[in-house]
């Protein structure tokens, strides 16, 4: 019988609180970037996902993602744990042997919550609120829960393949990033895209969101150690380091290329660095974190630049370029820089002579990305045909705050 460790329990509980804070932080991060008439709409989306998935998770989401594998194919969890049946004070040795299973469950709930919130940046300023609610429920159930099972669930096929994803590069960021790409394409461009000035209405709000994200990400990554010790410490340190390196590399490249070191860009670089280190944070050391973070800043910068210059896709707040690209890099970088010296439960990466890990990492990126892209597209097409995805043109012009929520943000 495993026994509960108080320090580990505190660590995961407080980490859960930190990750919870990240969800509305995404709302603020995005909210500052949209136009004044749509700020409440996007913040409300983050808030309502928090409410909705909190309930979905305890009713059946947790069981689908982490429950005993259904059928043994490693595709989805069974329904044994619906309504948190059997998820209580006793630890679950498959996931976290030193804390109550309920603590692991609520910590994981926060990941399931934040993931669909990331997507909202793709269809900012034009999504119908009622459809959004249905989309969130479907997406979390059909896309998120299975992917979480593949990568983290007992018997999940990617887990069995030896894929390493410490804190959700695949599960959270790839899945949201590719869903965002699908969503941006299917919902179509905002009215006025590339012709009207759509400058951020409140940059300090975005920065505040970015600050809270950086802060909460300590819980996201270091909490994923699930114990309070040197592994958590390593994750904490590399998280901070990669965020810093991402902010600096973005600043440097944007200064050289084009213009001035803008605040929004620097914060974006920090978030790119955070997204990239997420899968790697329990497997790489601080010096490699500089490489990962700096690489993320550069890659996301050029991905955004490419999107703006060469495509007509209106991924409004660049969810794909930031989270999709950033974390694809991070998952692959894990295959390169992972070290058993950092985490004895991990394996060595390419630079330590292991050619196997990087292969499964690449497979995992493709599998999760493709699954999310395709299934998200199907969900959206169905919703478009039934409820309608998009508000009317008049509503879009008047703004979502008034037309969807009957409110104005500021007097």
């Amino acid at each position: 019988m495993d026994t509960i460790n108080g320090a580990d329990t505190v660590w995961v509980l407080i980490s859960a609180a930190l990750v919870m804070l990240m969800t509305p932080a995404v709302g603020l991060f995005y909210g500052g970037m949209v136009r004044k008439k749509n700020v409440l709409a996007i913040i409300t989306q983050s808030f309502i996902v928090l409410a909705l998935i909190s309930i979905q998770w305890i009713l059946f989401g947790y069981s689908l993602a982490f429950g005993p594998d259904a059928g043994g194919h490693g595709l989805i969890g069974g329904l044994q744990w619906i309504g948190l049946n059997g998820v209580g004070a006793a630890p679950d040795p498959n996931y976290a042997p030193t804390i109550p299973a309920s603590v692991f469950m609520i910590y994981q709930a926060m990941f399931a919550i934040i993931t669909p919130v990331l997507i909202t940046g793709a269809f900012a300023d034009r999504m119908k609120f009622s459809t959004f609610i249905v989309f969130t429920l479907l997406w979390t159930t059909i896309v998120y829960d299975p992917i979480a099972h593949w990568v983290w669930g007992t018997g999940g096929w990617l887990r069995e393949l030896g894929v390493l994803d410490f804190a959700g590069g695949l599960v959270v960021h790839i899945s949201a990033g590719l869903a965002a790409l699908a969503a941006a394409i299917i919902i179509g461009k905002r009215i006025g895209f590339k012709s009207e000035n759509m400058a951020p209405h409140n940059v300090p709000m975005t920065i505040l969101g970015g600050i809270l994200l950086w802060f909460g990400w300590f819980g996201f990554n270091a909490g994923s150690a699930l114990t309070a010790g040197s592994l958590a410490a390593n994750a904490f340190i590399v998280t901070n380091t990669s965020a810093a390196a991402g902010a600096l590399s973005w600043m440097a490249i944007s200064w050289k290329h084009g213009g001035k070191p803008n605040a929004l860009g620097i914060v974006t670089g920090g978030v790119a660095g955070l997204a990239a280190i997420t899968p790697a944070s329990g497997f790489v050391g601080p010096l490699w974190a500089i490489v990962i973070g700096a690489g993320a800043g550069l890659l996301c910068y050029f991905a955004m630049h490419f999107k703006n210059k060469k495509t007509n896709i209106d991924d409004s707040l660049d969810v794909f370029a930031c989270h999709g690209v950033g974390s694809a890099w991070g998952v692959i970088a894990t295959g390169i820089f992972a070290s058993e010296a950092i985490n004895s439960a991990g394996v060595n990466g390419l630079i330590f002579g292991n050619y196997v890990l990087i292969q499964s990492q690449i497979i995992a990126v493709i599998a999760t990305g493709l699954y999310s892209l395709v299934v998200t597209a199907i969900i959206l097409k169905v919703l478009d045909a039934t409820m309608g995805l998009r508000v009317t043109d008049n509503e879009e012009i008047e703004g979502l705050d008034i037309t969807q929520h009957g409110e104005k943000a500021y007097v």
């Binding site: 000035n197 400058a199 084009g258 001035k260 803008n262 929004l264």
Partner: protein, 112 residues
């Protein structure tokens, strides 16, 4: 009586306001506007993009004065508001037919 509307650089408001007060012109009303003229806009940045904003922040001053004072006021605004660079702004003179003080109902010059 005339109404003088001046669109000026916002950073010159303090000087103009003070110069007017010194010359005895206390009453005035101001608000913030955006203007486009010969002055080229500013380049702003949004992540990887640059975009030009052609409307620049300016301040508008409005004051109603007696006819003989118009020239004096115009001169003060020009003098205190000049930097010599494009974008210093414009002054427009409009006719006023009547002026009433809300508090007393008083009319004409006395109400200025």
């Amino acid at each position: 009586m005339k109404k003088i509307e001046a669109i000026i650089r916002s950073e010159k408001l303090g000087d103009i306001k003070n110069a007017l007060a010194v010359a005895g012109f206390i009453g005035l009303t101001t608000y913030e506007v955006k203007g486009r003229g010969r002055q080229k806009g500013i380049m702003l940045q949004y992540r990887t993009q640059e975009y030009r904003v052609d409307m620049l922040a300016k301040t508008k001053i409005e004051l109603v004065v007696d006819d003989p004072d118009v020239e004096k006021v115009v001169e003060i605004i020009c003098k205190s508001g000049q930097t010599g660079n494009i974008g210093d702004g414009k002054i427009f003179i409009l006719p006023i037919e009547e002026i009433i003080r809300v508090r007393t109902g008083e009319r004409g010059k006395g109400a200025i």
